[in-house]
C-alpha cells in the first residue's frame, strides 16, 4: 500500500510536471483573445446583451448550451431511471426541528424569487438559467431537508421539465423558420425588439426567454434528482 501510494505520487508528479510544461507556454494573464475580442466588441449590437458571457453562452454558442441543457436532462432522466422502483417513499427518521422547518418556510419564497431574479437578469448580470435554476432547486431541497413527508409533485414537474425543453428547441426552430438558422435570435435580429433598451431588462433578444426556460427546467430537474435520491423502496 505504501509502495502504491509512493508510485501514485511519483506518477502523478510526472504527469503534473508535463501539464505544467504545456501550460507554461500558455502565459497566464496575457491577452490571447481572437474570437473573444470580437464578442466584446460586438456583443451589445449583435445580441443586445451587456453580459458578454451570457451572450456567448446563449447566443453565439447557444448550441453548446442546448447541449448542456440536454446533459442535465439526461442526468435527471438517468437518475429517475436507475432509482425507479415500483413503489417508493421517503423514509427519513427524524423531522427537522421547528427552527429548521420555520426557517425553511420563511426562506422558501425568497429563494424562489431570487432564483427567478437570477435567471431573468442573466443578460445583465452574472448568472442566468443554471444558477437561477439551481437556486430554485435549493428552495425545494430545503423543504426536503426540513420535512420528512414533503414531496414535489412529480408528474407536474416532469411535464414542466419536458415542456421547458420543448420550449427551448421550439425557440430555436422558430429562429430556423424566421431567420433561416437554427437558434437564430429572431427577437433581436429580425424584430429588433429592445434595441433602444440595452442594459435594461427588456433587451438581449431571446436570451431572457431562454434563460427563463432554462431556469425553470434546471429547477425542476435538480428538484427531481433530489427527490429521486432521497427516496427509498418500500414494499407494497
Amino acid at each position: 500500500m505504501v509502495v502504491k501510494r509512493a508510485l501514485a505520487i511519483i506518477t502523478l508528479l510526472v504527469i503534473g510536471y508535463w501539464l505544467a510544461v504545456g501550460l507554461s507556454q500558455v502565459p497566464f494573464g496575457e491577452d490571447k483573445m481572437l474570437i473573444g475580442q470580437y464578442y466584446l466588441n460586438n456583443v451589445k449590437d449583435q445580441t443586445g446583451a451587456v453580459n458578454a458571457v451570457t451572450a456567448v453562452v446563449v447566443n453565439y454558442r447557444g448550441f453548446d448550451t442546448l447541449g448542456e441543457v440536454t446533459v442535465l436532462f439526461i442526468a435527471s432522466t438517468g437518475v429517475g431511471a436507475l432509482l425507479w422502483k415500483r413503489k417508493r417513499k421517503r423514509t427519513a427518521k427524524t423531522e427537522g426541528s421547528i427552527v429548521l422547518t420555520t426557517g425553511t418556510r420563511l426562506l422558501f419564497p425568497f429563494v424562489m424569487l431570487f432564483g427567478a431574479y437570477i435567471f431573468i437578469h442573466g443578460h445583465l448580470t452574472p448568472g442566468g438559467g443554471f444558477p437561477g435554476g439551481a437556486t430554485v432547486a435549493t428552495a425545494f431541497l430545503l423543504l426536503y431537508l426540513a420535512y420528512t413527508a414533503y414531496e414535489i409533485p412529480h408528474r407536474g414537474f416532469e411535464v414542466t421539465e419536458g415542456l421547458a425543453g420543448m420550449g427551448y428547441v421550439t425557440v430555436g426552430l422558430i429562429g430556423l423558420a424566421i431567420g433561416g438558422y437554427f437558434l437564430f435570435d429572431w427577437i433581436w435580429q429580425t424584430w429588433q425588439f429592445g434595441t433602444d433598451n440595452i442594459g435594461r431588462l427588456l433587451s438581449g433578444g431571446f436570451i431572457p426567454i431562454i434563460y427563463t426556460i432554462i431556469g425553470i427546467k434546471v429547477g425542476t430537474e435538480l428538484s427531481g434528482i433530489i427527490d429521486n435520491m432521497v427516496k427509498e423502496e418500500v414494499s407494497e
Partner: protein, 84 residues
C-alpha cells in the same frame, strides 16, 4: 482601499485555520463546521471583491453562493443526523 492588505491577510489566515480544521477533523461535524465558516468567509470575500473591482454585479454572485452553501450545509447536517 487602505486596509486591503490587512483584510486579505486576516481572511487568508482565517481560511487557512479553517482549512486546518477541515483536514484535521477529528469528527465529520468538525469538518462541516469548518466548511460552514469558510463559506461564510468566502461570501464576505466575494463582497469585498465586488468593491475592489467596482462591480456591483458580484454581489448577486455572493448571494447565490450563500444560498447554495446554506443548502449544502443543511443537507450534510441532516444526512449526518440520519434525518433525510
Amino acid at each position: 482601499m487602505i486596509g486591503i492588505n490587512i483584510y486579505l491577510t486576516l481572511i487568508t489566515i482565517a481560511t487557512l485555520l479553517s482549512m486546518y480544521r477541515v483536514f484535521r477533523g477529528p469528527t465529520t461535524v468538525d469538518r462541516l463546521v469548518a466548511v460552514d465558516i469558510m463559506t461564510t468567509i468566502t461570501t464576505g470575500l466575494m463582497v469585498l471583491f465586488a468593491l475592489y473591482y467596482k462591480r456591483m454585479i458580484f454581489l448577486d454572485v455572493a448571494l447565490v453562493y450563500a444560498i447554495l452553501a446554506f443548502g449544502g450545509v443543511i443537507a450534510f447536517a441532516r444526512y449526518l443526523e440520519g434525518g433525510v
